[in-house]
């Protein structure tokens, strides 16, 4: 096992324990040609374990950028991002993959299921990279499918499901490796309001069971389910509404 992998498994207590996500003066600058785009400008924020965040704000305010950073898909240009005790900026690509695999689950606006795989195989995907045995993965996939109410659709292909069902498969997949943090970029963006509401019920339930959820959304109706609402403006935190804020 690599050092990074070992680190990823044993969170450092001093950083606040499992599930704590902390941004310290984080900036993200994109260089496009000769000009610079400041997508994030010195953001400092703690996401407590078990909290449910909705990140809101106008287009281009840096919501997706923040979520990508939180998701270890990108590194900050400046500042520190602490996840499960690691300073993400210092980790190499393999260690970032390992962090995503063990600590983070992604839910996307466009579901992002792999079309040539069945529902079962899609849910098993993180377990495959965790090198679980086929038997254990199959059992786990069945459990997860049941949890999102799709136990009878395991052998279907994603295209054969409705949007809401696809998003629930995506949630099952995000849950398979039992990460403590779920990241969602407009999870209801492609769904009608009734279906979106169902998805939000599911997320709320997961949050009650202890998952930390960070979700980007445009809609106040959706954001209402979160315990915290973070308003972004021009790469900065505009204001925070909700519990304790």
């Amino acid at each position: 096992m690599t050092a990074a992998a070992r680190l990823a498994r044993s969170p450092e207590p001093s950083a606040g324990g499992r599930g704590v996500v902390r941004l310290e003066n984080v900036s993200k600058v994109y260089v496009v040609g000769s000009s610079e785009v400041h997508a994030l400008r010195g953001v400092t924020l703690d996401f407590a374990a078990g909290s449910f965040w909705a990140i809101m704000g106008p287009s281009g305010s840096g919501k997706s950028t923040m979520l990508n950073l939180l998701g270890c898909l990108d590194r900050p240009t400046a500042g520190r991002y602490l996840l499960a005790g690691h300073d993400v900026a210092e980790l190499n690509d393999n260690a970032l993959s390992e962090l995503r695999l063990r600590h983070l689950g992604f839910i996307f606006q466009s579901f992002n299921l792999i079309p040539q795989l069945t529902v079962r195989e899609n849910i098993e995907l993180p377990l495959y990279y965790l090198e679980w045995s086929p038997l254990a993965s199959a059992q786990r996939a069945e459990q997860m499918a049941e949890r999102v109410g799709l136990a009878d659709r395991l052998n279907h292909r994603p295209q054969e499901l409705s949007g809401g069902q696809q998003q629930r498969v995506a949630i099952a997949r995000a849950l398979a490796a039992n990460p403590e943090i779920l990241l969602a970029d407009e999870p209801t963006g492609n769904l009608d309001s009734a279906t979106g509401e169902q998805i939000m019920q599911t997320l709320t339930e997961l949050n009650r069971q202890g998952k930390t959820i960070i979700m980007v959304t445009h809609e106040a109706d959706i954001a209402r389910h979160a315990s915290h609402r973070l308003h972004m403006r021009d790469g900065r935190i505009d204001r925070i509404e909700g519990a304790g804020a």
């Binding site: 962090l99 299921l113 990279y129």
Partner: protein, 423 residues
Amino acid sequence: MKAARLYRNVALGIKTLLLHKLRSLLTMLGVVFGVGSVVAMLAVGEGASREALDQIRKLGSTNIIITSMKPVEEESRGTFSPFSVSMYGLRYDDQRRAEQSLSTIRRTVPVKLIRKEARLHDRIMDLRVVGTTPDWFDLVRRDVIAGRVVTPRDAERHASVVVLTEYGARRLLATEHSLGEVLRIGGEYYEVIGLVQSESGQGGAIQTPDQEIDAYIPIEVARERYGDLSTIVTSGSMLRESVELHQLIVEVDRTENVESAAAGLERMLKQYHAKNDYRISVPLALLRQAEATKRTFNIVLGSIAAISLLVGGIGIMNIMLASVTERTREIGIRRAIGAKRAQIIGQFLIETIVLSMTGGAFGMALGAAIPWVITAIAGMPTIVTGYSMLLAVGISVTVGLIFGLYPARHAANLDPIEALRHE
């Protein structure tokens, strides 16, 4: 555990490839034909060269063969004056001199050829009978089918014995039951004492010493009874010639000494032969030549194969790059879930290797089938060797690895965020 995982990965690769059956098939074709042509060409080359090498080896690699040749002057004279006798070729003395000339020469075997009408029971045939010494049977090793060969005692006693070759026996309709029977050769009577296998050497470029020989008798007997003069009747003219020895086979002690011995013999013979009435052939030299030809052939073959496999490999690379572009989003999803770069590389590499190895397997089948057809239709000998099959497997894996690596690395190095945004 590791093996089970590899199995899963390969199964996944196959499944993915089966999603686009036609595309995968077309992609494989380059490797199929590349590997197929390598195996087929090697089989044809191997068949041809092994046949040649076998024939040369049968001449003996430590032997030098000196054959009497009618000089060009004699050839023309013969037609104008039918009553003159043309004298040429190796002399009995040449054998003695050859034996004494060099210490590297182990022994010599004389060959005196007699063409006579022969009769076994009611069967009458023109036979080619060779008068030789018992050493012949030691030097030109052929299996004895029945009876025995000529022994030194037969030679000493000037025994009237004859050994039939398989070829001769077939012509005379003789079998192993013919042992002890009497064969008449040109008015003289012989007891059939043995039957030996003969090398037909059919269609080959190199003549084996016993090709088209029907029977053997002791050389002393041949000299006494038939002399050196022979009359050959060809259409309209009569040819009389006197040849003491038709061939002399010289055995040298070691292969390293063959070439120098051949040169020595050439010098010696020049002294005693005013006319150029003999030819020296060295099987070893032929062998070397054949081997060199084989090497050249293999190099040419290798180049053709390399080019066709390069084309096949580029075909695979091209399709894999297209596949990576097409599956950019899938790559982004896998990376977001936590796949490492190496795992993405592995996934795509396995696909190309599965493709190229499947192509290689079909290629092997094709490569084994083509020589079979060639042998069946053209009658050419072909040999599909295990080594060529191994080579084919090795080549197809290598092609997969080399041409799969670039697309796979390209896939692994995609930025996950951009890959996820890809339509």
